[in-house]
Each structure stands twice: as structure tokens, then as C-alpha cells.
Symmetry: C2
Subunit: 283 residues, 2 copies
Amino acid sequence: MTPAGTRGPGPPSDPRDAPIGVFDSGVGGLTVLRAIHAQLPGESTIYLGDTARVPYGPKSPDTVRRYAREAAGFLTERGIKMLVIACNTATAHAFGTLSQGLDIPVLGVVEPGAREAAAASRSGVIGVIGTRGTVESGSYERAILAARADATVRSAACPLFVALAEEGWVSGEVPELAAHRYLDPLFAAEIDTLVLGCTHYPLLKPMLADVAGSGVRLVDSAEATARETARLLSARSLTSSGSAPIAHHYVTDDTHLFRELAGLFLGAPVERVESVALGQGPS
Amino acid sequence: MTPAGTRGPGPPSDPRDAPIGVFDSGVGGLTVLRAIHAQLPGESTIYLGDTARVPYGPKSPDTVRRYAREAAGFLTERGIKMLVIACNTATAHAFGTLSQGLDIPVLGVVEPGAREAAAASRSGVIGVIGTRGTVESGSYERAILAARADATVRSAACPLFVALAEEGWVSGEVPELAAHRYLDPLFAAEIDTLVLGCTHYPLLKPMLADVAGSGVRLVDSAEATARETARLLSARSLTSSGSAPIAHHYVTDDTHLFRELAGLFLGAPVERVESVALGQGPS
């Protein structure tokens, strides 16, 4: 099978010019893609949003692993040079499986933010916010403690934030009241660093920065993941040779619904989006 | 295949004692099941929540139809005497397909509420709230106008309400502010009746009644659907003969996650919940 929608009938002749593969359950991972485009403007990308099965958060680890394997298989068939799991839930449940099973570098969205927070915090008291699934998985807490054994981690699940981001209610009374309700216990515990552990939350960052005040540093997992992507490509001598970059988007449901939300998350309209089927056959 | 989990090795000898099948994308349809149990305490039920693929709202009509066919197939294989589509999105996209393809009565969750609202309104100015998918489908508007041609329908999509219901934030400042933001344009249009067109919204009913005030009558689609279920069974001489009723629940994902939320929606703990696979084979 040819790497559909990359650059012609076969894989690029220079392996450095193969695209970076990025997947998420839906649109949230576009904040990671946006950060990759901003920090690595010369790289081609293939994004897959599993929109027919979004969200992964409330689904069981086994189901999420199966979906993640299918998504990764779709992208590796298209000749990617590196895989970014731009989904906290998939990272928590499927990072081990995917990184062991593939012969390209695999990066999740948890470790980069956790390491940045561990390095940035002065007091070592670090807050983490995410979906209920991410918080209950304990994945950020483990990654922060691995990077800094003396850290104290305070987590809060903020399920309403995804709905607020998708609704475009990113400032004003409703999100601010919700933020206080979720975050005041973390501020009372005197966190000095707050990890935005969900790919939807970068949209709420200005509001969260206001609510948190100047004494709390926000760590954006999407930006941290893009920085780590750049470091990894450079370390493996996989940085693009300079050929013209191409961005492709695939979704597992209707492209129309994806286009509507994508602008909010990517900060620009998406071009080249195709609908594909995953998991139609026996698993 | 035996009707798993009904009442023994075969279907009940009296067809009136077969269960009512109820399905939804997740837990929301449990408000319909709860109303059926309250109004028809002698009926056995089988509930299917397609929790591995929840929510249907943001998915395309074709995808929703495929999922709904699979859910209906699962329930009819278990010998149900009637099918209730306890999901607004599935009703909007799949009611026609399912009612034409099955030889048992099929009831959606849209028409009963629409007809009650059409009958209850004095002025004929009727508000409808639901998910974005339900509102954009226009299904309530069409059903209301079919029942009352002189009606004026004002709709508002309230995507945050599902997250608020699942979070248990059913009263207080955040839901009230969100409700005003969504509903004030409907009150300004002088609606005298408001249809709760989403199975999650019964949890918010007391708060919505406060915000709406005494001049607006709330119509709960879940209760209207249960009343219509009772009428249909009676009209077809299918009301239970009086044998002891049994309630079974199936989900397509982990049962643990379902149990956690189910209490909120059903008002009681669920017993007998099993996980089953749908759509694993070629579609």
C-alpha cells in the first residue's frame, strides 16, 4: 500500500522527510499538532482523529488499547518516521504496548509535561488537571515522581473543561466559576506549578492563568510534547532535510463535523481531511 | 441463541411476558428506563448502553444508523416484545430504518415529548433543548409541527448540560448561569412550554424549573416516552400477564464505569449488568 496522501506514489526517498504521525481520539490532539507545526515548521505530519469512537476517556483500558493499536497501525502503514500519541488516555493505557511493538520512536503526551513541571517547580508541590480517566490512571503523578522523587502531586479531574473548550466558552463567568470549583483545593495546597494534562485545555489557558494568578506556573503538555518531539528527531538524526512540508488529516467519522471544531483547536482551517474506517474487521 | 438473561432456557411461554428492549449510547437512556419502571412496574426490561462508542451526538447519521442497527439486533435476538430507542440522536437518524425493519412495535424518544408539548402549550410557542446533534436534526421541531401546525418552535443546543449531569453539578451557580446563557433567548421569545429533549436533562429538571419559573411548563421526554410505551403495550394487548418482572442491563464497555454513573441516572443501583461486544465483525 502506498503512503496515501504523503507525496506521490511511494515513500519519500529520504527517510528524514517521512511525516510525523499524530493521533488522538478526536480534535483535542490538534493542540499538539499545532504546537508541532509552530516549533517544527519544516516537518510533514499525518494526523488521525478517531472521531467515530471519541472520547476514549470514559472507556476501559482494554478498549482504549485496542483503539490505539488500530490508530497506530493506520499511521505506520503510511510510512511515518515517528509516532506521537496526542491523547492522554491513550498514552496512559497504550504507550507501553505501542512503544514496544514499533520500530520507530514513540512519544506520549504525559512524560514531556511531567518532566517540564518537575524541572520548573521550586517548591515541588505540583498540580495536575485532566479528565477523570487521566487523573485516575495516576500517569502524570508517576511520571512527575520518576523525574523528581521529592515532589508532591495534587490532582483534580475537571470533566467540564472539555465541554467548555468544545463549546468555545473559554472565558467569562461559567468557566471561571468551574475553574475555581476544581482548582481552589489545589491552590489551598499551595501548588506553584500546574500541568494542563488534557489536550483540550490549551484553549482555556488564558482563563486558567488568570484564575491561578502569577504565583502558579502553567505547563502546557501540548507545547512540552512538541519540544520533546523536536529533541527526539534531532537526537535520532531524523529532522526533515528541508523538502516542502505537507499536513494531512484523517478522521474515522464525518469530515464535516471535524472541520467545524478543528479551527478552534488548530487555530487555522484544516486542509486535506479524509474519512477512513478503523476496526471494521475482526479485532 | 437463547434470550440470555431473561427467564430460563427459552423465551417466556406467554409473549406478553417478553421484556421491553431499551437502548441508548450510554447511561442517559436510564432516565427513560427509570420512568418505564415507575409507570410499568410489572414489565421486564433489557437495557443496552453502547458505552464503548458513546456519545452518538457528534457522530454522522450513517455511523449512528449502523450503531443503532447493531444495538437493535442485539436486543431483538433476546426476544423483546417492543423496542424503545432511548436516545435522541439514534431516534433522529435511525427511527425510520428500525421501525420499518422490525416486526415488533418501535418507539423513539422524540415523538412522545413533542406531542405532549404540542398539547400542553397554550400560546403554541414551544422551546426545545437538546444536544447539538438533536437540535440540528430538527427532529423535535418536525414532530411538534406535525402535531400542531400553528406552533412556533424555538430551539437551543445545550452541550454543557450533559457534562453537568454526569458531573453531578445539577444545582448551584455553574448550572444556573449556563442555563440562563442557553435559555434566556427562549424566554425572551416567550415560550410557555419547554421540552427537555435529551435523556440526560431529567437530572437537571429541578434547576431548570427554577430558572424557567412558573410561567413555563417543562415536558420531560423520558416520562412522556414511558407513558407512550404503556399506551402502545395496552393497545397491542402486550401488557405483562403479571409474572415477576426482571431487569437486565448490558453495556459494550466495562461494567464498572457504567455502574458508577448508573445510580445517578436510574436512582437506584443496577443489578445484573454484563459486558457484550457489538460491531466486532464486518458491518
